[in-house]
């Protein structure tokens, strides 16, 4: 693995600068914030150690205090409202008691951080090379800007950015998400930091990119002896890379141990619950084998959405490039793919929130694609839609009951009837009728999404479009919402079109799965068949990149994954050529017509 390369710490002090013992030793760390409603204990007596070259994963759900923990170590928990207690020894210095000036010298140079969203974590108005150079020069004032830029290019190349010498001049928006995160990693390591705090470093990325970034971190650990604190909510990510795992709940570490212990013999019920939530539901409905003629609820034929390019030289973009699919009543079709593949466009197009350029959308025989605008409202009554973020998709100024009543009246119900029906809708999604008088901010995330589902099902539409319905929810809540969706389908017999990037969700709900790539469906098959024996190389790659618990992954898949991570250039291992050349124009391998409806 490129062993002749000098270690990344070349211009920092030598690797073994301190005596034995942990590199980072955190004891009884507590952070509380004073709020209007009294003090909130975000971190409550957390202790852990991090050895050289070790990867410690801190796992917890949102609000468990795991991010606050990392921020506090960086000295980024600011403001007069925060009270910090405890001790965090790093290279013999206490980070908690250190002054801002002392911390500033450590920050970025010895202890570095990578954040969740590389898009918002880079300043949009500066070139990425300049942003890396800025950090180098902040700690090494004698280095010229030109030298720092040179070094930035080297670093970017080392974290796997091709043509790094050109890309130092790129602005963040000109790079893909994975490239941006690589820039963040290059920046974090630009001065030979010993410890990398990675706060959900792959959460905002696609699965295949996530696998690459994790492989990169692993490689840095092996080659440069980097120690990593990986903060994440995703056990799948952890299983791959962590040596030790600490599970956090409500500010406390409830369980801590080696990765094997935690993953295979979890002792604390909370840990067990989290792990359990990751395994696919045992309760899979037996899928009937349906003929094409039965799939009459929804028929999409050769749907196209093109955006004309601006300017004479710009080529147009095909967001959807001839998509065909069909759906039977009571059936669930999942659409999977990476961001930008057109899956959300397809879903919105079916509801005609986006105008199709060409093609037909037949909902119970009526063509939605060519219906005049005046008829859209009545046609849309037959479909409901659940959105990704329930917080953003519920009107914050309207009570839950009001929201539901409005949805019901939009489907043609009278005032009194809709009031009665709103209570019933709430009961159907497992909420008390008293919730009707509450505002969305008074509900938890899971409850909000239940309201979103109740709204979508108002008036019992035949078709429900689900756009990432659980991806903004914590793992322990997801399970409940997924089960609810399954139950409701059983009761009402409506068809679901589900868009998701998460295979656990897909596996639990889908009868059939369509894999989308660059605006096309590259494979469409029965869920079991597609997951067990994917035909198209892209599907295989997507499945291989998907982080899972070892216990869930079948052995052949696991082997694939190992090669992906250990190989120097993992892409040469996959069936695709290197560096962005995706075989978009290659003819697709023909899957059996039985399962491929395109």
């Amino acid at each position: 693995m490129g062993s002749e390369r000098p270690p990344m710490t070349s211009d920092g002090p030598p690797l073994n600068g301190t005596a034995d013992g942990p590199l980072l030793d955190v004891r009884d760390l507590s952070v509380s914030f004073a709020t209007r409603d009294g003090s909130v204990q975000a971190v409550d007596g957390v202790s852990f150690e991090l050895g050289r070259g070790e990867v410690l994963a801190i796992v917890g759900e949102s609000g468990s205090g795991k991010s606050v923990c990392a921020m506090t170590l960086m000295g980024l928990t600011r403001g007069p409202n925060a009270t910090i207690a405890g001790r965090a020894l790093f290279e013999g210095r206490d980070l908690i008691g250190a002054s801002q000036a002392q911390l500033r010298r450590i920050r970025g140079a010895r202890l570095a951080m990578v954040f969740q969203d590389p898009q918002s974590s880079l300043n949009p108005v500066y070139r990425v090379g300049d942003q890396i150079a800025e950090q180098i020069r902040a700690h090494r004032p004698l280095v010229s800007h030109g030298q720092a830029l040179e070094r930035a290019a080297e670093l970017m190349e080392r974290v796997g950015i091709p043509r790094a010498h050109e890309r130092v001049r790129a602005y963040p928006h000109e790079l893909s998400g994975g490239m941006r995160q690589r820039v963040m990693i290059a920046m974090a390591l630009s001065l030979g930091a010993q410890v990398l705090l990675a706060d959900e470093p792959t959460t905002a990325l696609d699965v295949t990119v996530q696998a690459q970034i994790l492989a990169q971190l692993k490689q840095l650990r092996e080659q440069e002896g980097l120690s990593i604190v990986l903060v994440t909510h995703d056990f799948g990510v952890v299983a791959d890379i962590a040596d030790r795992i600490a599970v956090m709940q409500a500010g406390k570490i409830v369980e801590q141990g080696s990765a094997g212990e935690i993953l295979y013999e979890p002792k604390h019920p909370y840990t067990r619950g989290l792990l359990e939530a990751l395994r696919p539901s045992a309760k899979r409905r037996s899928t009937r084998v349906l003929g094409e003629s039965e799939r009459t609820l929804l028929q999409v034929e050769d749907l196209r959405v093109s955006y004309a390019g601006r300017g004479p030289r710009a080529a147009g973009v095909d967001a959807l490039d001839g998509v065909s699919l069909s759906l039977a009543p009571g059936e669930t079709l999942a659409i999977v793919g990476e961001s930008g593949c057109g899956k959300t466009t397809l879903l919105r197009c079916i509801a005609r929130l986006i105008e199709p350029t060409d093609g037909a959308i037949r909902l119970q025989g009526q063509d939605l694609a060519r219906a005049p605008r005046s008829r859209l409202a009545s046609l849309r009554r037959q479909l409901g839609m659940v959105f990704q973020d329930p917080q953003a998709s519920l009107n914050p100024r309207r009570r839950v009951g009001g929201t539901l009543e409005r949805a019901l009246r939009a489907r043609g119900m009278g005032r009194a009837e809709s009031q009665r029906e709103a209570g019933r809708s709430l009961a159907r999604v497992g909420l008390k009728e008293a919730y009707a008088t509450r505002y969305p901010h008074e509900l938890s995330g899971g409850e909000r999404q239940r309201v979103g589902i109740a709204r979508a099902l108002a008036g019992e539409p035949r078709l429900v479009l689900l756009d990432e319905p659980v991806s903004s929810l914590d793992a322990s809540i997801r399970r409940g919402v997924i089960e609810l969706l399954g139950e409701l389908q059983g009761q009402l017999g409506c068809g679901y079109v589900l868009v998701s990037h998460d295979f656990t969700t897909v596996e639990a709900l889908a009868d059939r799965i369509a894999v989308m790539h660059e605006g096309k469906i590259v494979e469409l098959a029965d869920a079991r068949q597609l997951l067990d024996s994917p035909m198209h190389p892209y599907t295989r790659e997507l499945l291989a990149a998907c982080p899972r618990l070892p216990g869930v992954v079948r052995s052949d898949e696991w082997a694939d994954k190992e090669t992906l991570q250990q190989a120097d250039t993992p892409r040469t291992q996959s069936s695709w050529p290197v560096d962005g050349e995706r075989p978009a124009r290659e003819p697709l391998p023909r899957t059996p017509p039985r399962s491929f409806s395109a």
Binding site: M1, G2, E4, R5, L76, R104, R105, I106, R107, G108, A112, F115, S120, S121, L122, N123, P124, V125, E134, Q135, A138, E157, R158, V159, G160, P162, R163, A164, H165, E166, R167, R169, Y171, H173, E174, L175, S176, G177, G178, M179, M187, D206, T208, V209, Q212, Q216, R313, E338, S339, G340, C341, E518, D568, T569, P570, R571, V578, D579, G580, E581
Partner: protein, 360 residues
């Protein structure tokens, strides 16, 4: 995604350097029209950007002149022939004036005639029968002096107070500045001007009592004469700008990239100036361009009148009083043109500040 020129093996012995999702990764997208490193094409975007803006400028200016012309046609009791012929004119005399000035022609002919006059500088005012454009050119220096000086003052102090307010948000300095800003915003210019004239000019004799001295003939005199108008005009804007900037700065301070900047170990001053302030200035630039254009086009009528600067605004005020259509129309067109030109300049500055704007 067709061409990828550099083979990956040439780049460092094989780190994982695969394609990275379907995002717009530069080289891989193979768009030759968007240079990143090539030096010759570096400012090509700027030329294209300005060319596009100029093209739309012409169209907008045409639309503005048509609209302005039509608005002045629709003014009630605005029949220019009646007005010009005098109060005791007979219908025949009115008709004679109408024919003589071309008011009997179809409206598009009148528009073209008017525009012809506007363009060759021969618009004559109805009431005094003097050349409007010569009058405006004579009145421009005080107005431009006012706009530039006041523009600099309100921008500088607005940014300074806004930044201080945001940095000390919630503390005494912030509260004090916000009281001052609100006082400034709610202070009418005619009141403030009168107070200043009385104390600074009349009682203490520190500054001259209004009027305008050309910069070329007496720079110090120009400065002392402009000082009070500048301050009077700036006070309101300083209040508004500092409030807007304070809000922007507080927003930007919550951005992830500011957190990144701190995590890099930058000094707080550098974080503030390089990362927070630059990104906070975007909204201010737009605001400033429009306000500046408004003053250039004679918008500061009150200040010009209170201090008797004899600028475009004062001329507009007098013409409106006489319901003298030609000067008012020409000044309206001037304001509109100033706004359009300035907002084009603002767009260019905006693109310089934010590279993301350059794409569209």
């Amino acid at each position: 995604m067709e061409a990828s020129s550099a083979p990956i093996s040439s780049l460092g012995g094989g780190l994982s350097a695969g394609p990275d999702g379907p995002g717009v990764s530069i080289g891989a997208a193979g768009s030759p029209g968007r240079p990143i490193s090539a030096a010759p094409g570096r400012h090509a975007w700027l030329v294209r950007f300005i060319a596009r803006r100029l093209a739309s400028l012409v169209a907008v200016l045409f639309a503005i002149t048509v609209l302005t012309f039509l608005i002045f046609q629709a003014i009630p009791d605005g029949d220019p022939a009646l007005r010009m012929a005098g109060r005791l004119a007979s219908p025949q005399q009115v008709q004679q004036v109408r024919v003589q000035w071309g008011f009997d022609k179809p409206i598009y002919v009148q528009y073209l005639k008017t525009m012809e006059k506007v363009l060759d500088g021969s618009v004559i005012s109805y009431s005094q029968q003097i050349n409007v454009e010569q009058e405006i050119v004579r009145d421009l220096p005080p107005t431009i002096s006012l706009a530039i000086g006041a523009g600099i003052i309100w921008l500088a102090f607005g940014v300074l107070f806004g930044l201080l307010s945001a940095v000390y948000a919630g503390r005494f300095l912030d509260r004090a500045l916000s009281v001052i800003a609100l006082t400034g915003i709610s202070m009418p210019v005619f009141f403030l001007g009168a107070i200043m004239l009385y104390w600074l000019g009349y009682k203490w004799g520190l500054l001259p009592l209004g009027g305008y001295v050309p910069l070329t003939s007496d720079p110090w005199g120009w400065f002392t004469h402009m000082l009070m108008p500048w301050i009077a005009l700036s006070i309101v804007s300083i209040g508004v700008y500092s409030r807007v900037l304070r809000a922007n700065v507080l927003d930007v301070m919550g951005e992830d990239y500011v957190r990144t900047a701190r995590a890099k170990g930058l000094s707080e001053r550098r974080v503030l100036i390089r990362h927070v302030l630059r990104n906070s200035l975007m909204g201010i630039v737009t605001l400033w361009g429009l306000d500046f254009a408004w003053v250039i086009g004679g918008g500061a009528i009150l200040v010009e009148s209170v201090f008797n600067l004899g600028g475009v605004g004062q001329y507009a005020a007098q013409s409106i009083g006489r319901l003298d259509v030609p000067p008012v129309m020409v000044i309206t067109m001037l304001v509109a043109c100033a706004v359009v030109v300035l907002s084009a300049i603002v767009d260019v500055v905006y693109a310089l500040l934010d590279p993301r704007v350059r794409l569209s």
